[in-house]
Symmetry: C2
């Protein structure tokens, strides 16, 4: 059984804890966070500590903390030569203090405190300095998820930029759609099926083939009418920038 | 039984034809398109015409044609006082020739030729000049979809702008994610679960609450590193514009 200690109090720490709860191959023997936060009703009070000096002996220490906290927290750990991993999409593995064996255990998903995640479909990107630690991380990830990828720090950086586009920026487009509907008293839920289908399509066809709309059709009349409807200058700017990008990308092929 | 004639050869025409195929309350008695295109193996050859003068007597004529073709085609119809509807998100009902009774039957979904659609979850936005035609359109839509909305031309315009953001522009963000991954030999499929979860979340929580990422965290170090990774100037511009919009929207609340 792989003994795990999770450090951190955020959404990733909470979801990882819950994800490991039903597993037999690994056990979270301790959680460290300064607030002594409980992640789950089943968690025992004495398995939580806010004292970095009291960390238990484990096989893997998972630092599920904010990007800026990874380096300082890894330097505070009161032991050497243990496997210490972080869970960040954008921080290089070598940002971890080199007194321990370093690695990354990055679940590529968006986590919210109040929304359960089926871990089986969460891609886990792993990296480690030593081959045997790669194996250990794979052993840890395998029963949790069916999608495990060995990804270097450089590749992870690329994935993270892409994730900003397909998740953070996409969500902001949803937020704009919601604002426009709210402004005109139209229920945003009318657009839910369209949003689901847009996301489903990407699995079945290349997004270049799925591109539709006034921009790719060069339908200048509709584009103009849309720009007149938008009252927010930033919404207008986003509309214009994305329309320009779509026309530039597909212009030659039309 | 409601007798329907569908005019047009595009994806909406095809999916509407297929959608009505299993229905008992309505029958597509004829299709008109200049290519005499068959939409389905079950379709009879003699139910297709390319001669506008040979249109059969029906209760509803659905013009599922491109936005620019709606007005001229509606003016060519060789009859009067029949219910004629278009299927466009952005064209006003009154763009239809006023010699017939006018209406709109707008299925708010993205249709591709090779991807089947479960019509039951497709919101259908209807509009008509006369109350009894609104009822007829509702009767036509009811067995097809469980989401029917009576929407004015002005409201439909607003919905259409919102749809451009949540569908067309979102798909372009997916396309950028795909391009970035391809450029660096990383399988884009790693991002599929994130894309699905992003779309799922919008149903369960307000997109403002779901917003995460370096922009809202004002993580300037990560933003800078991401901008350095992007080689395409338009990708950079989209990254900057959306980052600025997110920071402007949530800046005051942070």
């Amino acid at each position: 059984m792989i003994r795990v200690v999770i450090l951190g109090s955020g959404n990733v720490a909470q979801h990882l804890y819950t994800g490991f709860l039903d597993q037999k191959h690994a056990k979270v023997i301790q959680c460290y966070n300064r607030k002594r936060l409980l992640f789950h009703p089943a968690q025992e009070e004495n398995s939580i500590t806010d004292d970095i000096g009291s960390l238990k002996e484990a096989d893997i220490y998972i630092l599920a903390v904010s990007d800026n906290a990874i380096t300082p927290l890894s330097a505070q750990l009161p032991f050497k030569n243990k496997l210490v991993v972080h869970t960040s999409g954008s921080v290089p593995m070598k940002a971890l203090c080199n007194l321990n064996k370093r690695g990354v255990f990055y679940p590529l998903q968006t986590f919210s405190r109040d929304k359960n995640i089926d871990f089986d479909s969460v891609p886990i990107c792993i990296e480690a300095e030593e081959e045997k630690d790669v194996h250990l991380l794979k052993d840890l990830a395998t029963p949790l998820s069916s999608k495990i990828y060995e990804i270097s720090s450089d590749q992870r950086n690329i994935l993270h930029v892409s994730a900003v586009f397909v998740n953070n920026f996409t969500n902001h487009l949803f937020s704009i759609g919601n604002d426009i509907c709210k402004e005109h008293n139209i229920p945003f839920e009318i657009l839910y099926p369209l949003i689901q289908e847009t996301a489903q399509k990407v699995i079945q066809m290349n997004p270049d083939q799925a591109q539709t709309g006034p921009a790719i059709r060069k339908d200048t009349k509709t584009i103009e009418r849309h720009l007149n409807i938008l009252s927010d200058p930033l919404q207008k700017e986003i509309y214009q920038t994305l329309t320009k990008a779509i026309q530039s990308k597909y212009g030659k092929k039309l």
